[in-house]
């Protein structure tokens, strides 16, 4: 029986090859279904990550402080050699001013596991005190392997889970190759690969857990979603950028169920339980917990550092925030601004939760946090970029444009890390994959692109016309290209040594603000479009 089935399958492939129609050129990738094509694309994504790992990391060969690579190595050293209660405490053996731990406990546990791995193969790299500034070929190889393994074990499966859920959400719309394109857009996101496997960080863990939480929420597994999101929060406190969206969506769904109070209580218990398990070593005393909390929110570092394309840094060109106000008042300003800007999105989800609305809410809240929050780094653009890649099929124009500006905003950082070649290669790869032959943006059969599937109201038309105005886009595109060249070849004037960074920041900020308006308006239009259908069937 089985042999007959196999013969049939082989014949089918041979017939396909012989027929030779000018069909979808990706038939060989997608004909077996989503899982095999995901495996194929993820193997290529793994190859790209390994290749980027060959390039320098942050702070390579720059004593005394080095960079993020040294910070992660140092955390492995600390967590391996000291008991948990000493990890966040300043002591003679743990000097917090030299790259002290400033992420929540899950990062510490992960550093411990990776530290064990490093100690097995290269004990000198994690020896207490003596391994400070340790740099070697084997050490770099092992560290790169820790990021690769985290990516493969956490990020990739989460993306597969999401893609399967998302596909069932779209009720089979679009072609099979669209799913493959979507997978490629998420896995080959140039910013994530450059930061994780170039600069050296572990964003794949927290972002992977977030994606898994999103997928669980979309497939109505709310309790699982809350646990996964709390784990993401406990890995990097920056995951809180998504908190209002999760809160709004889950609360909105609870309110629509039979017994809202019970549902909310269940969710609350899961959240508290997760936090209790993760923070267990630090719940023994108030001091321990406060020690960790003070490391997580370093307010003394000021409202911004370096040149990041958010509101405070950009407007500081005109209004010198740091000079006019104290840190205390700036904290209140930024908190207020962030809450006000993410409120519309959160309220929309509480009132009318929907799957697509949830994805837009994630995008909007993370953007408002990026623009108005305290102590934002350039790398934080990864957070708004994540839900945008998840929405790639809906927002195919936006993803091209915003990835360009996200990369551009990180260009000075990557230039300092000597990752310019990797930057250009990954940027070119992104463009090529985006315009893949007979993909959603390179249609060869003249079918409609997926961008305009819904009827948009007039106000959104107006915003769309400004956001995607051809002349404006052309001008900005040209400016950014010229600025790349200028940054690489020319020296800034002595009076304004950070002139180029400031200009880059200005351009990127303008686009981010414009798109925040655009995405917010899209989210509201969604709810108006859905409420009429909602009355007949529960879409949630």
């Amino acid at each position: 029986m089985k042999k007959k089935g196999e013969m049939k399958k082989v014949k089918k492939v041979k017939d396909k090859v012989n027929d030779g129609q000018d069909d979808d050129p990706w038939w060989w990738l997608v004909q077996e279904g989503i899982r095999p094509s995901f495996l194929c694309i993820s193997l290529f994504a793994l190859l790209v990550r390994v290749a980027v790992g060959l390039h320098p990391y942050s702070g390579a060969r720059t004593p005394p402080k080095f960079g993020d690579y040294e910070a992660q190595r140092h955390w492995m050293e600390i967590t391996l050699n000291l008991p948990p209660k000493d990890w966040y405490r300043n002591s003679s053996v743990n000097d917090l001013s030299y790259w002290g731990l400033d992420y929540p406990p899950l990062t510490a546990y992960q550093s411990y596991v990776h530290g064990v791995f490093l100690k097995t193969f290269d004990p000198d790299s994690v020896a207490l005190f003596t391994s400070r500034g340790y740099e070697s070929y084997l050490g770099k190889l092992l560290m790169r392997w820790t990021v690769l393994s985290s990516d493969v074990l956490i990020f990739f499966p989460a993306v597969l889970y999401f893609v399967l859920v998302y596909r069932s959400m779209r009720f089979g719309m679009g072609q099979n190759s669209d799913v493959a394109w979507h997978i490629a857009m998420i896995l080959l996101n140039p910013c994530l690969i450059l930061i994780d496997h170039g600069h050296f960080q572990y964003n794949c863990i927290s972002l992977g857990l977030t994606i898994a939480a999103i997928a669980a929420a979309l497939s109505q597994k709310d309790l699982v979603a809350s646990v996964l999101y709390c784990l993401a929060l406990n890995h990097k406190q920056m995951s809180a950028y998504f908190a209002p969206a999760f809160f709004g969506y889950l609360l909105g769904k609870c309110l629509r169920k039979k017994n809202p109070l019970l549902e909310v209580t269940k969710l609350g218990l899961m959240v508290i339980g997760t936090f209790a398990v993760v923070w267990w070593p630090y719940l023994q005393s108030k001091d321990a917990a406060l020690a960790v909390l003070s490391r997580l929110a370093p307010f003394e570092r000021g409202i911004y550092e370096d040149y990041v394309a958010n509101f405070w840094c950009t407007s500081s060109v005109l209004v010198k925030w740091k000079k006019l106000y104290s840190t205390q008042s700036l904290r209140i300003f930024s908190l207020a601004a962030t809450l006000i800007t993410c409120l519309p999105s959160m309220v929309q989800q509480i009132l009318a939760p929907s799957s697509k609305g949830f994805l837009y809410a994630l995008l909007n809240t993370s953007f408002s946090f990026y623009l108005f929050s305290f102590q934002v780094h350039e790398k934080s653009i990864l957070l708004p970029l994540l839900p945008l890649t998840l929405l790639a099929l809906e927002e195919s124009r936006s993803i091209l444009w915003l990835t360009h500006f996200a990369m551009f905003s990180m260009f000075p950082l990557l230039h300092r890390d000597k990752l310019v070649l990797a930057y250009m290669a990954l940027y070119a790869l992104f463009i090529l994959v985006y315009f893949a032959p007979c993909g959603p943006s390179g249609r060869c059969h003249g079918t409609k692109t997926l961008d305009n599937t819904q009827k948009t109201k007039r106000s959104v038309d107006f915003i769309t016309s400004i956001t995607f105005h051809p002349l404006l886009m052309g001008f900005l595109g040209l400016c950014s290209l010229i600025l790349h060249v200028i940054y690489l070849t020319m020296h800034p004037p002595n009076k304004y040594p950070f002139l180029f960074e400031a200009v880059i920041m200005l351009i990127c900020f303008s686009q981010f603000v414009l798109f925040t308006f655009y995405f917010n308006s899209k989210q509201w239009m969604l709810s108006k479009h859905l409420t009429s259908k909602d009355k007949q069937k529960k879409l949630i």
């Binding site: 030779g20 069909d23 790209v48 060959l54």
Partner: protein, 399 residues
């Protein structure tokens, strides 16, 4: 195969093929800072030799252990590249100061030269697959443009195989269309780039003799003269200057270093490995049974030690032996081609020739497996569909 029609889809094909090539190029760019073997220094030194020394000293120079051992066209190619290298960083092509020069400029320049030379491979694949259906085309592109073996050998280890295979595929594509003169000419040029490709020369010779030089005695002889003249012209362009300087002996000696052993340092998986293991196995057994078998003095990977044989029991293998073995293995293919010279079968005949060369050759590198796997990729899809056709009906191949 049928005559090629200029399909209206040609721009689409070119665009899609460029897309595949673009993806491969990006991976190659990312691999620039990776490990490279001594071949990088070898080629850099050849840039220096051809740039700094006059032609008469190219094959006699002994400044470094990496002496020039490719035919003259490759030396001309290095001369051409060295012009650009000199512009970028003169130290790359300095004969003495450039020795073991590891600066970024040298590495980037050389890596980029391999990446750019892969455009020849692109064109070769383009011509070979233009007339095929889109699905078959895509599969062949995957196997050749994204070939992992070629990527590792060319862009990690460092060699110029993509460039050379481009010439081979171009030559085969012309032959498959029935344009024998171009095919023969391109093969002659390829031989002057790397003489290792000469293993397929018997197949080419027999095929061209029977397919091109036919149609009666007079016409056949005229065509033979034309083809002969073209080949001689190509070889004259390559070796002529060295004959003029009286160095042809030295050039031949450099190109065919038979002082090396039967096997390369890391054994290529060919027939001689079994022969060697058999020899050692028999020697071991015979020693167990009490016979006195002296251990051989010479080794298999090193040079010949006087007249000593590296084999304990079995007869010694000389370069002549391997040459005869290769010809013997090739003979069925040569007979078939003599009897029935069909354009459609030329690619697989050449692939078969390289397989024989790999199995029975002298001092074969593992890299030589690319010589038959790349042409085989071109016909792999055809073979699958041929098998299907042969199952369906008994009348198959049209001339």
């Amino acid at each position: 195969m049928m005559e090629m029609q200029e399909s209206p889809r040609t721009p689409v094909v070119m665009a899609q093929l460029s897309w595949f090539f673009g993806i491969a190029t990006i991976v190659k760019l990312l691999l620039i800072p990776s490990y490279h073997s001594t071949d990088l220094e070898v080629h850099r030194h050849w840039l220096a030799i051809t740039h700094s020394l006059p032609l008469s000293q190219w094959y006699t120079d002994e400044t470094s252990e990496w002496t020039l051992d490719y035919p003259p066209f490759f030396a001309y190619l290095e001369r051409f590249l060295s012009m650009f290298a000199h512009l970028i960083d003169p130290q790359i092509v300095h004969l003495h100061h450039g020795l073991n020069y590891k600066a970024n400029s040298a590495i980037y320049f050389q890596r980029m030269s391999v990446i750019v030379s892969d455009l020849f491979l692109l064109y070769g694949v383009y011509r070979s697959t233009l007339a095929l259906a889109s699905l078959k085309r895509n599969l062949i592109w995957l196997l050749v443009i994204w070939s992992p073996g070629l990527l590792i050998v060319d862009h990690l280890h460092f060699q110029y195989n993509g460039f050379l295979f481009g010439w081979l595929l171009l030559s085969l594509s012309f032959l498959a269309q029935g344009r024998d003169v171009m095919g023969g000419f391109l093969f002659a040029v390829l031989l002057c780039f790397k003489h290792l490709f000469a293993v397929a020369a018997p197949v080419y010779f027999v095929y061209l003799l029977r397919h091109y030089c036919r149609g009666g005695l007079v016409r056949g002889f005229a065509r033979l003269s034309v083809m002969g003249a073209i080949v001689v012209a190509v070889f004259a362009a390559a070796y002529g200057p060295f004959v003029y300087h009286g160095q042809i002996q030295q050039v031949i000696r450099r190109m065919f270093p038979f002082g090396r052993g039967l096997c390369h340092a890391y054994w290529a998986p060919n027939f001689w490995v079994f022969y060697i293991m058999l020899d050692k196995g028999i020697a071991f057994l015979l020693r167990k049974f009490g016979f006195n078998i002296p251990a051989p003095v010479a080794s298999f990977t090193g040079g010949l030690v006087g007249d000593a044989s590296p084999f304990a029991i079995l007869p010694r293998v000389t370069p002549l032996t391997t040459f005869i073995m290769v010809l013997l293995a090739l003979s069925p293919c040569l007979f078939r081609t003599w009897k029935d010279p069909r354009p459609r079968l030329i690619v697989r005949s050449v692939a078969y020739a390289y397989t024989c060369g790999f199995l029975f050759g002298w001092h074969v590198h593992e890299k030589a497996s690319l010589h038959f796997s790349i042409p085989l990729a071109i016909v792999a899809v055809e073979m699958a569909s041929h098998a299907n056709e042969a199952n369906k009906s008994s009348w198959c191949f049209q001339p």
